[in-house]
């Protein structure tokens, strides 16, 4: 069957950003997302999850341009002050229209 390429953007962030990030995603053109919680540690040293509770892990399948926009947005607004990590990868989906 024919599949189409889309971008899967995964964001791991401290939970206090939950509402904000989900709003941002919608505005940047994501049509949906999946969210779960995760723990972890990184270079930020101090782990906010100790008092904020577990991090959130967001996955959203989007068009390439939206993926670009999301990463750029994260860099501009969150990377400097918050515990946020994000990555994008190419995936194949069966119903591309659902994510446009």
């Amino acid at each position: 069957m024919t599949t189409t390429e889309r971008q899967l953007v995964t964001i791991v962030a401290e939970s206090v950003l939950r509402r904000r990030l989900l709003d941002d995603l919608r505005q940047l053109g994501a049509t949906g997302y999946s969210i779960s919680s995760t723990d972890g540690s990184g270079t930020g040293g101090r782990n906010t999850s100790d008092w904020e509770g577990p991090h959130i892990r967001i996955e959203t399948i989007v068009r390439d341009d939206v993926a670009e926009a999301i990463l750029a947005h994260l860099v501009e607004h969150y990377f400097s002050n918050y515990a946020v990590v994000a990555w994008a990868s190419t995936v194949r989906v069966a119903r591309p229209a659902k994510f446009d």
Binding site: E14, V16, R20, R46, T48, D50, W51, E52, G53, P54, N81, Y82
Partner: protein, 322 residues
């Protein structure tokens, strides 16, 4: 006298559990409660406190309540300023970090509130039922004042601060909402109708608080490393500010006509520092503030100090003043 009160407090199940959890964690023992239990317990505690307060309000008449309420609002305005000024002057911290920490000392710790209630219960000291109502007020006012300070400053600097959002974060946040929901239910139903739920919300309260403090101990212990980094000035202030604010609270309580129990509680609230509502609000409103400072001060120093030795001190203050 004071020392014996400290020992009594230290040997109470909740405080003992906290201390043991701190020690175990420091020797790298794994005593963390299972994930998922922490939010369940904090939800329970906030609801139970609210219900208790609601029942109290149902019995109390407005005449007894308005003065303590006023006192709380005043305290909510003064305590963060006390904190802010001392952090700027004595702590030599910047505006943002000072305001961020001040927000924590302006607000309150619901767990510290429950520990003082348990302490007074054990001591046999009666407390006004409506005190949990003051908790809700104090939790909010202090944060608002402190954020306003930062806000004013940032405005001058032309910096942007999303403090409207931060405020709604606090007001709609689970801790305030659960507290108020509990108050509403308790107030509407009244003591008799709530008897069927007492086994859960009254009978299990000390036990679940003890369980909760085990988790708090592991979290506080993880801050110890940070305490070293934070420097002696901040640590000293994290011990001094509660004592000053506690005294202010004791004075305010006695002036407001509260009994020894109620005055002790108000003093403890004034002395306590928030580590749930405030951090969340500050993280949004003042993202450049260093969490390493405000969490270490409130959770790593002030919280343990208050529940282990602070409470008996505030109790002594209350007895001296009323």
């Amino acid at each position: 006298m004071l020392s014996s009160a400290i020992v009594d407090n230290l040997l109470s199940a909740p405080v003992l559990a906290f201390v043991v959890a701190v020690l175990v964690t420091l020797v790298k023992g794994d005593i963390r409660l299972p994930d998922g239990l922490y939010p369940i317990l904090s939800t329970y505690l906030l609801l139970a406190i609210g219900l208790k307060g609601g029942k109290g309000l149902a019995d109390a008449d407005l005449g007894d309540v308005w003065q303590p309420l006023l006192a709380s609002i005043v305290l909510g305005a003064i305590t963060p300023i006390v904190a802010y000024v001392s952090l700027r002057r004595l702590g030599r911290l910047g505006v943002i970090d000072s305001a961020a920490i001040a927000a924590h000392y302006g607000s309150v710790s619901a767990v510290t509130f429950t520990v003082v209630l348990a302490f007074l219960e054990a001591t046999g000291e009666p407390t006004e039922g409506f005190l949990a109502g003051l908790l809700a007020v104090l939790e909010i006012v202090g944060i608002v004042v402190a954020l306003a300070i930062a806000q004013a400053h940032l405005a001058r600097e032309g910096g942007e601060s999303s403090w409207g959002e931060a405020l709604s974060e606090v007001l709609r946040g689970r801790s305030i909402v659960l507290l108020i929901a509990g108050l509403a239910i308790g107030l509407a139903a009244g003591p008799e109708r709530l008897e069927p739920v007492d086994p859960l919300f009254v009978g299990l309260f000390p036990g679940l608080l003890t369980l909760f403090l085990i988790e708090m101990g592991t979290i506080a212990a993880q801050r110890v490393r940070d305490v070293r980094e934070a420097g002696w000035r901040l640590v000293a202030l994290a011990l001094a500010i509660p004592l000053v604010n506690g005294l202010l609270g004791a004075v305010a309580g006695s002036l407001a006509g509260l009994g020894v129990g109620g005055t002790t509680v108000l003093a403890t609230l004034a002395a306590s520092a928030s580590y749930i509502a405030a951090p969340a609000a500050v993280r949004i409103a003042l993202p450049t503030a260093n969490p390493g400072l405000y969490i270490t001060a409130s959770l790593g120093v002030t919280f343990p100090f208050n529940i282990v030795v602070g409470i008996p001190i505030y109790y002594a203050m209350a007895k001296g003043l009323t």
